[in-house]
Amino acid sequence: MQIFAFLLILMGMGAANADPVPTDESNWLKTMAFAAHRIDFSGVFIHQAGGNIEMSRITHVTDEDGEHERLEGLDGGRRELIRSNDQVWLFANGKRLRAERRQFRKIFPSLLPEQITALNENYFVRQAEEDEVAGYHAHTVVFQPRDGLRYTRKMWAHSDSGLLLKAAVLDGHGYIIEQHAFVQLAINGKFDRSWIIRDAAPAEEADRQLRLSSMPQGDPAPETGDWQVDSLPSGFRKIASMRRTFRENQEPVIHMVFSDGLAGISVFIEKVSGMSHFHSGLAGQGATHVYNRMVDDSMVTVIGEVPARTVILVAESVRYAGR
């Protein structure tokens, strides 16, 4: 049950379309599942990935229209992001740069039971010490993987509200390689809401910029069904697959997402012409690794919050099985 509740926060379930949490476990964990989306809070948090560290202020409020969120970078350059449900606006130095519509994991709630099973198969889950983060009392839970193809995760949740106060990703040696943590936080206060954007126009602009079309599940379209990912760490299941276009490229890109319940791995397949000089390569920061390689005239890009060896393993197993 506890795992279930934790899982919910990890997936960032929207309160609006969420099934109720089973009621037989009436402890704080239940509340936690929805806390990040239902609670009003404002605070400053650090995000550390590898040798890089950023500080941001986040304000999250809810009203009859849903969720509104404001994220401000505090490290020079004054970047700011405002989100209302799935609509996102990006600003730099007070100037609007672009608007986008994002999906925000609507897909997860229907897949919960499967992923709970996957979690137990792939991670040892245990409650760890109680702690204090940003002045709030926190419970902690550790997800330790059963193999070396994924990372350990540790989460600190506010004991009263369930809000996630800190989350860390640890490598095989127990070192933190990426973390988010509040350093200052106010929960359920009176927060400024003047920044909320309420005009609907940018939505159309966003739709033009980022066009998504779902690929029917279990009914692979001929042009995508021929692409195969032969090798995935145990417990990773396909949770989404689609063709989508990105602004710079009119040609739709195949995007498949796999998850073991905690970590995600995306496979992108893109037709490229005139890029014969392109080399395969690995990149990464913190827990996220990116690897790409050419398969005939297509570029395969694999991104995931998994060790480098895992994205490489997956990318090397992608093949075109058609014709």
Partner: protein, 158 residues
Amino acid sequence: MMKQDISALMDGEMHEEQADVFFDKLRRHPSARNDWSDYHLIGDVLRQPDHVCRNLEKAFHERLQAEPTVIAPRNHNSQRVRNFALSAAASVMALALVVWMSVQVGHEPAPQVAAVQQSGEVLPVSARADEYLMAHQEFSPSADVHGATTLVYAVAGR
């Protein structure tokens, strides 16, 4: 001199031309690379406990006990951290909106750090990698820790 440069770079107080010279120096002088690596290692050690001010000594001591190789200069991990940290610093200077800077590791389809060391070049793997990263984070469960931290990268300007 070198140490001042490293410090200036890490604090974001270096001009682009200076930085180019600096990176060039870093490539050619192993000792400079050691300094760079050590600075980041120190930074990492400082950052990793809950908060820097909380039980720092204890946490540090515990980590030393648990993993004595933490101060071994050229181990697998510190090497990788160094390279990625380099690329991150470079991207800050590029001032691109969402630039996912990355390390080109050559043709070998292997995760070995050796490949990273040989190449040493900082090149974007793909112009679209940043878009892909955002797209990935829409779906990845681990990307959603606070609700919108998936978009931290965008706000941070990387």
